[in-house]
């Protein structure tokens, strides 16, 4: 019996080695380095959440393409700050990677929020997981039927939002600044986007905003009317809804819109500790590319309304740098007020 299991185990090991070695050798050294080693994947949010899901969803594929074992560690705290700090300060040997919500982190760093020990411009970016175009919606029975109605309204419009560090609040704040809307009243304090959504469905508040993927089902079901898409190109399923640039805005407003859309182009991305050896970086970037362009994975993700759209690590860095240089003072000041 013991012998049998020994044989089985060796078959598994040999099989594993053979399977692993099928990975085309992009860089022999890096491939040899990662084989059989463990790589820590830090998820700066709780187990069972959206980011945790994505990490666990990608892990088996990453293992297949690298030959290493991925260990997922949940390090929640401070809206991602704790985990991101850990990735930043880890040993730069290419064995620590992480995932981050950029829609929250970029504005936080721009505002100089407390607790941040990392510099987003110095991380080695692996890839983009997805971009998240946002959409502004109102309740199905609302008197507002177009974005022009909203802009020209004489009444105060009460909107539902999560806390001030959430992307819902940022969406609404950006719209307010871009079009210089004085009659927006943003009610913060909902625990999550689904609680904010329910408040609008109940008719307590006029509208809300968040990612298209979290709203599309409710729009299709007729609970929401979509009035404006915050993106620079048409979004699948919402082709008839106008985009943010379709309406007149000031020069300052346009700068804010540009910055925000730049940030949203890299909504969720994966990074590695700064200073890791270049061959390992290239090897890992390739593994992420293969994982996120695997048709099977992309199709499964789409089915679950958890979209995946790969973009190279180099491009991610460009977007990040751009958002730091482009952010106009009005936006920076507003963020500093919010994230004090």
């Amino acid at each position: 019996m013991k012998r049998l299991s020994l044989v089985l185990v060796s078959i598994l090991i040999v099989g594993g080695i053979i399977l692993g070695s099928q990975t085309p050798a992009l860089s022999q050294d890096a491939a040899a380095f990662y084989k059989g080693k463990t790589v820590t994947f830090i998820v700066p949010y709780s187990a069972g959440g959206g980011y945790d899901f994505y990490a666990r969803f990608m892990a088996p594929h990453l293992e297949k393409y690298t030959g290493c074992t991925i260990v997922i560690k949940n390090k929640p705290g401070g809206g991602g700050v704790v985990g991101a700090n850990l990735v930043y300060r880890a040993k730069p040997d290419g064995r620590t990677i992480g995932i981050l919500n950029m829609t929250g982190s970029i504005p936080a760093q721009i505002a100089g929020a407390k607790g941040i020990d990392f510099d987003l411009k110095k991380f080695i970016w692996m890839a983009r997981l997805n971009d998240e175009p946002q959409v502004f919606v109102v309740g199905a029975k609302s008197q507002y039927t177009s974005w022009n109605d909203v802009l020209q309204s004489k009444e105060t419009i009460k909107l539902a939002s999560t806390g001030t560090v959430g992307s819902t609040y940022l969406d609404l704040l950006v719209l307010k600044l871009v079009y210089d809307i004085k009659h927006f009243d943003i009610v913060t304090g909902f625990s999550g986007t689904s609680d904010a959504d329910l408040s609008v469905i109940r008719g307590e508040l006029v509208g809300t905003a968040s990612s298209v993927s979290s709203k599309i089902k409710k729009i299709e079901a007729g609970d929401f009317k979509p009035l404006l898409v915050i993106a620079d190109e048409k979004v699948k399923g919402l082709e008839n809804v106008p985009l943010i640039y379709d309406f007149p805005m000031s020069t300052e407003g346009k700068k804010i819109a540009d910055t925000y859309i730049g940030i949203m182009n890299v909504s969720r991305a994966m990074m590695m500790t700064p200073g890791a050896p270049a061959d390992r970086v290239a090897f890992m970037r390739e593994a992420f590319k293969k994982t996120l362009t695997d048709p099977d994975l992309v199709q499964k993700a789409e089915k679950m309304d958890r979209p995946v759209s790969w973009l190279s690590g180099e491009k991610v860095l460009q977007f990040i740098e751009r958002s730091f240089t482009e952010a106009p003072p009005l936006f920076v000041n507003e963020l500093k007020q919010t994230m004090k």
Binding site: P76, K114, V165, S199
Partner: protein, 496 residues
């Protein structure tokens, strides 16, 4: 309808679904025994395995795994005062004192029977409510959440037996601790002293581990002896006595289940609240001559367990009917259903009704088999409580720290457990209600958040909304009664 009911049952017992369900149940129980790991984490871990299963197997596997995690967690809560996850925290308030009396078997039996029956009750009620579910979900807004939470705060006074003031004080301490961290409304960081760990507030599981498990183990080490004092008479009270207890206290079972279902179908209040509110209402309606709550009253085990499982059944229906997940676990389950090709919505209640009943049957069968497994283990496990404290306590304290650390994988969790362990020990010695403090801790944030939202949305008049007003009346009655009751009792005793 009947046909779908029957077809659903056949599907559960078809191969390989039944095999996957058995694996799921065993794994779920194991994760439940591991402190600090709750339902959502367990589901997240097993989720990838379901991607390549057929839809019936995936449903049987995932729901089977998830529905028993809580059962495993209540066993460690009762035996050692270490809760598996948030919802088990309320169970240990009376479950652990029962173990100290040598009645661990009885408490485990009651917990299992209550959760199985609560789950069943929840499912039946929901099946009847399906046609009018949507209006019910939509009738609860921030004012109603606020008043439900206030009702919980009002229960505080009763949790300290004959001294309501002490209960209120302990509850206020809990409310104060709940204020630590970044609040949701304008993002102000309160009492965080620039420590990032504190931004997210004081978590429930490390707090409970400190307040109860660590405090009790320190107490045990100081006193010497074992958790349970060997007592010839009581050694007979096995798990079946507990099962019988549940049927004797059917009124508490029914009330707690209804509370659980209501909180389950309205997304936004969270699972921990259901258990603590159920515990509060059970303590509120305690009759004269009953064992004091917090000192080992079997009803204190029945109420939260029934509510906890009824709530999960409740959370399932909005998930399948509308695609609005009623809890964290349901959000994960929703994703899994979509991937194996089950689209939540009206068709699950019409054409695919047999699949819906498969879910219901899986819930029932998984719970039943978990109950049988644990009942077989209950007697040998409860013998552990007779071990000498000097052997057992160091082991349990280590387990406590692991359990606390699992919450956010941070040393902060361990520090919270130690600090609250010291507070808990002092409260035990000074006879302050730790249950009241926990209730305050769980409800504090909800009260604040929903009061703020209510005023922002409706103005100060929010309280005049019909359901909110009804809850105000109930709260006033409960409050009046809890201060009047001791006075009346004393007068009666004098008269007699």
């Amino acid at each position: 309808m009947i046909e779908a009911l029957w077809d659903g049952l056949i599907l559960v017992f078809s191969w390989p679904a039944i095999g996957y369900m058995s694996i799921g149940v065993l794994f779920g129980l194991f994760m439940g025994f591991t402190p600090g790991i709750g339902g959502p984490v367990t589901l997240a871990l097993v989720l990838p395995f379901s991607f390549n299963m057929d839809e019936v197997s995936a449903i049987a596997f995932l729901i089977g795994t998830h529905s028993v995690v809580n059962n495993g967690g209540s066993v460690t809560a009762i035996l050692f005062g270490v809760p598996g996850s948030g919802p088990n925290a309320a169970t240990l308030i009376d479950g652990f004192p029962l173990a100290q009396k040598g009645e661990a078997g009885r408490a485990i039996g009651a917990a299992l029977a209550a959760s199985a029956l609560g789950g069943l009750f929840g499912t039946v009620v929901l099946a009847c409510l399906i046609p009018i579910l949507r209006p019910i979900v939509l009738v609860f807004g921030p004012p109603e959440f606020f008043m439900l939470a206030i009702l919980g705060v009002v229960f505080l006074a009763t949790l300290s037996g004959d001294n309501p003031l002490k209960g209120v004080l302990a509850g206020l301490l809990g409310l104060l601790i709940s204020l630590i961290g970044e609040e949701l409304i304008v993002g102000t960081k309160r009492y965080t002293f620039d420590i990032i760990y504190l931004w997210d507030g004081i978590k429930l599981v490390p707090s409970v581990i400190g307040l109860f498990a660590i405090a009790e183990m320190v107490d045990l080490l100081l006193k010497g002896g074992s958790i349970a004092k060997p007592d010839k008479e009581r050694e007979l009270s096995g798990p079946w006595t507990g099962v019988v207890d549940v049927f004797r206290h059917w009124d508490i079972l029914v009330r707690s289940s209804i509370l659980g279902v209501v909180i389950g179908i309205i997304p936004g209040l969270g699972g921990d609240v259901a258990c603590f509110l159920a515990y509060g209402q059970a303590a509120q309606t305690a009759k004269k001559g009953e064992v004091e709550y917090g000192k080992g009253n079997i009803c204190g085990v029945i109420a939260p367990e029934a509510a906890s499982n009824a709530k999960e059944g409740g959370a399932l229906v909005p998930t399948i009917a509308f695609g609005i997940p009623g809890s964290g676990s349901m959000a994960i389950l929703l994703g899994a259903l979509l991937i194996v090709g089950v689209t939540p919505g009206a068709n699950l209640l019409n054409e695919q009704l047999d699949l819906t009943f498969t879910m219901v049957w899986t819930l029932a069968i998984a719970n039943l088999s978990a109950a049988v497994i644990i009942l077989m283990l209950a007697n040998p496990l409860s013998k552990l409580t007779f071990f000498d404290g000097s052997v057992l306590a160091p082991v349990i304290i280590s387990v406590c720290f692991i359990g606390a650390y699992m919450t956010t994988n941070s040393t902060g969790d361990i520090i919270v457990a130690i600090v609250l362990g010291i507070i808990g020990f002092m409260m035990k010695r000074l006879n302050f209600s730790r249950a009241a403090m926990l209730l305050g801790l769980v409800l504090g944030r909800i009260v604040e958040q929903n009061l703020f939202l209510s005023i922002r949305i409706f103005g100060a008049g929010f309280i005049y909304r019909p359901i909110a007003m009804g809850l105000v009346v109930i709260a006033l009655l409960v409050m009046g009664w809890s201060f009047l009751k001791p006075v009346l009792q004393r007068r009666n005793e004098k008269a007699a």
